[in-house]
């Protein structure tokens, strides 16, 4: 059963990579990247169970944390052009 799940996640990962390569805007690519990250977490957990070494779950947890921070970092970079920006935006203040 873990192998069946592994195959399903691999198919989903392939489709997400297709969207990441094709996506017309940055946000499409980011959605695809986030979904690739989720797929990688599932892949790690399933692979751990398949090889009967559930220690892989620790790596999956670390990857889940990195995925969140990575997506926000890329979003912030494309919004302000720098990661050190304080986050105050004139558009938002006027709105």
């Amino acid at each position: 059963m873990f192998f069946a799940g592994l195959l399903a996640v691999l198919v989903a990962l392939g489709l997400a990579v297709a969207r990441a390569l094709r996506g017309p805007t940055t946000f499409d690519r980011l959605i695809a990247a986030n979904s690739i990250g989720t797929g990688a977490i599932l892949l790690l957990a399933l692979f751990g169970f398949l090889t009967e070494r559930p220690e892989f779950l620790d790596i999956a947890l670390a990857y889940a944390l990195l995925n969140l921070v990575g997506t926000f970092a890329v979003l912030k970079f494309f919004r302000y052009g720098a990661l050190g920006h304080e986050g105050i935006d004139e558009e938002e203040e006027n709105a």
């Binding site: 799940g5 959605i31 999956a60």
Partner: protein, 117 residues
Amino acid sequence: MILELLRDVLGWVLIGGGGIFVVIGAVGLNRMPDVFTRMHATSVSDTFGTGLMLAGMMVQAGLSLVTAKLLFLLLFLWFTGPVVTHALARAAMLAGLKPVVVDDPSVEGDVAKGEKS
């Protein structure tokens, strides 16, 4: 004996169902016409697909530290998924992307024809 069988059947159902949802989400990511609907499609696989799959693994692992780790992973994914989706949608709106609506006069007939990448 019967408990083992029950555990295996439950594991197959949960992991198989999760796999179906994950693939449906990925197909939606490719088929949907614009950014916002694509987000909607991936949220299916992010909440339900991962939820079912991790639940199936919990059933297989039994009551141990592994189950606790899986539970933490599940809770973390369920909290951060909506946060990331919200941030992405907000950033896309502020960047000037408009959602495709069906009765938009600039989109004729099939919505999918409106956007060709």
